[in-house]
Symmetry: C2
Subunit: 351 residues, 2 copies
């Protein structure tokens, strides 16, 4: 790789000192107009661009924010990142992305490498394994040192820090209420294991909606899916509990799509005999037939909000609000899977 020009070579070529070059480029009024113009012209000609590393080291500012997500190939997370990138870009910041793959050790590594000077702040959605093992020590260190960090979506409740979340309880309530409003009376839920708080909270909202509507709660229709085992088999159980649901709330769009699939295979008409609603408005919900109603989670908005919080913390070091929580509103996107009236979608599907 051919040598890059730096301030030293410029200085040598021009027969002046590095300080003169530096000051000229920053348009300092210590330097005479003629000298500045000479320097500018030559820097331009040589296509000089300052070295970012040296700048960062000197200024103790990287103009970079790090983001750690469990996975990338996921509509929600890529939306969030896009949101982060937008406000980062607006503020002349750059983005470093790390993937934890939902592993605790990888997450620790990533946090460490970010925190050692590479970025000015971190945005993170915590790995599943960290929740399972209840290990957030790597984050606690940072928070204690007042290192700028913002959690989003999957956040550790035990840590006081900046967070961007949705109101999962309310979202679950909304979804369930919607099913009820559309006429469902026997409701089931497809949720996550207990250590995933978002699933638990959505389930709380589900139960709350049932109670306020004075509808029966069927324990056997509340299925926790463990993703370490085949998902389809587990989802299927909701249809073989003796009592058949006429409304299903799935805490993510994948479970919703699978439930829809299974229902159609079994000859259950959706939405006439069974209404299904998912969570997170991703690609899948828009392409199933019938299309899936969902609770929109607004990933992009979460991203922009997280980035804004982080940047204002970085730049103001606003200690007063160091445990502020930004709540992103959810809303129902109604599609065909929860329509009230009978219609003529194709509903029979046999293998």
């Amino acid at each position: 790789m051919s040598k890059k020009v730096n301030i030293k070579t410029l200085a040598a070529d021009l027969g002046v000192s590095v300080s003169t070059v530096s000051k000229s480029l920053k348009n300092s009024l210590e330097i005479s107009k003629e000298t500045k113009e000479r320097v500018w012209a030559y820097a331009q000609k040589m296509n000089y661009k300052p070295n970012s590393l040296a700048l960062s080291l000197r200024n103790k500012k990287t103009m970079t924010i790090g983001i750690i997500v469990p996975e990338l190939v996921h509509h929600f997370f890529s939306r969030v990142i896009s949101g982060v990138e937008q406000v980062a870009n607006h503020n002349a910041y750059h983005l470093m992305i790390a993937l934890s793959n939902d592993r605790l050790d990888k997450e620790k590594q990533d946090v460490e490498m970010f925190a050692n000077g590479r970025v000015d702040g971190i945005i993170v959605s915590v790995a599943k394994e960290s929740f399972e093992k209840n290990d957030f020590s790597h984050f606690e260190d940072l928070v204690n040192r007042n290192f700028p960090i913002v959690f989003f979506d999957r956040v550790p409740t035990s840590i006081r820090a900046l967070k961007v979340i949705i109101d999962d309880i309310f979202g679950g309530y909304q979804a369930t209420k919607h099913l009820i409003d559309q006429g469902a009376k026997t409701l089931g839920i497809l949720t996550t294991p207990p250590h995933i708080t978002v699933g638990v909270d959505r389930q709380k909202g589900f139960l709350k909606a049932l109670r306020t509507s004075q509808l029966p709660i069927y324990n056997q229709l509340q299925i926790s899916i463990n993703e370490k085992y085949p998902i389809v088999k587990q989802v299927e159980k909701i249809f073989s509990q003796g009592i058949l649901p006429d409304g299903i709330f799935a805490v993510n769009e994948n479970y919703a799509a699978i439930a829809l699939e299974i229902a159609l295979e079994k000859g259950i008409k959706v939405p006439e005999e069974l209404k299904i609603i998912g969570f997170t408005d991703g690609l899948i919900s828009k392409t199933t037939r019938p299309r899936l109603s969902t609770v929109a989670q607004h990933g992009f908005a979460m991203g922009t909000s997280a980035a804004e919080m982080l940047l204002s913390y970085i730049e103001n070091k606003n200690m007063l609000e160091f445990d502020r929580i930004s709540l992103i509103e959810t809303n129902i996107v109604q599609r065909e899977s929860t329509e009230k009236k009978r219609n003529n979608y194709p509903v029979v599907y046999k293998k």
Copy 2:
């Protein structure tokens, strides 16, 4: 933010010089065992971690690779990035991601900031606008300077450099041949405007397959979609050309899904009366009903391949192969939309 310990504070606290600390931590045999152990213990206790910026500046090595993609919320690109991340991670490299949003100016900015010391090499899929304006000057600079760079997917043909692509012509041929093998005789294509080379190449393959199979070529069934205008309306035209296709090859999965949708609305039975195949094996293809056959593009493999090429170039500076092109194989993923025999999928869909 509380001060981080550095090598200086360690040295001061221990009453030795910074060189001694540095050497101790690197287990240099210049230093006595006792001193080393004292240093190790204290560094451990203080949780010392070297500053990445200083290291990078000193070693002229960032251990970071930059990747520029047109967009993130896209199954293919996020797969590629995951692939890159995997091999980067295996080699102790980190990832910086920039989004060009398909804009030329943003791409120039990103290239510049990466090239000024922030990363050791760049992986990039070029923005649409750069193709439209035929401006690759920002890349030419880098290539001339032998800066490590690998292009993937959307690559500038005019530049000799490392590239990872699929054989789009062959992919288009494969797809079309598959339609023909499944019984289609009147074939149409949904493709991109002429400046998108991948679309053009896939179309070349399409035409080649028609010629080798001695099937008629209908110009009116070759529709170029301009994404600046409503897509659905443009896709619809393929059904209103006087002659109705019984096979459609769409150069991406989005067009395929839309074509499927429109066909079903029109009461055309898929796959009995019309077979459809897309390109890129994303989420959409798996969730439409019937499911869409596609040409799998293996984004993850492209990512790993690009990263491997880049790293070997960075580390060996292997000039001999500076214009090597890695060709990733495509293959047909057959699903329901191109099945040969009549079956009982629901095919009628009216609004």
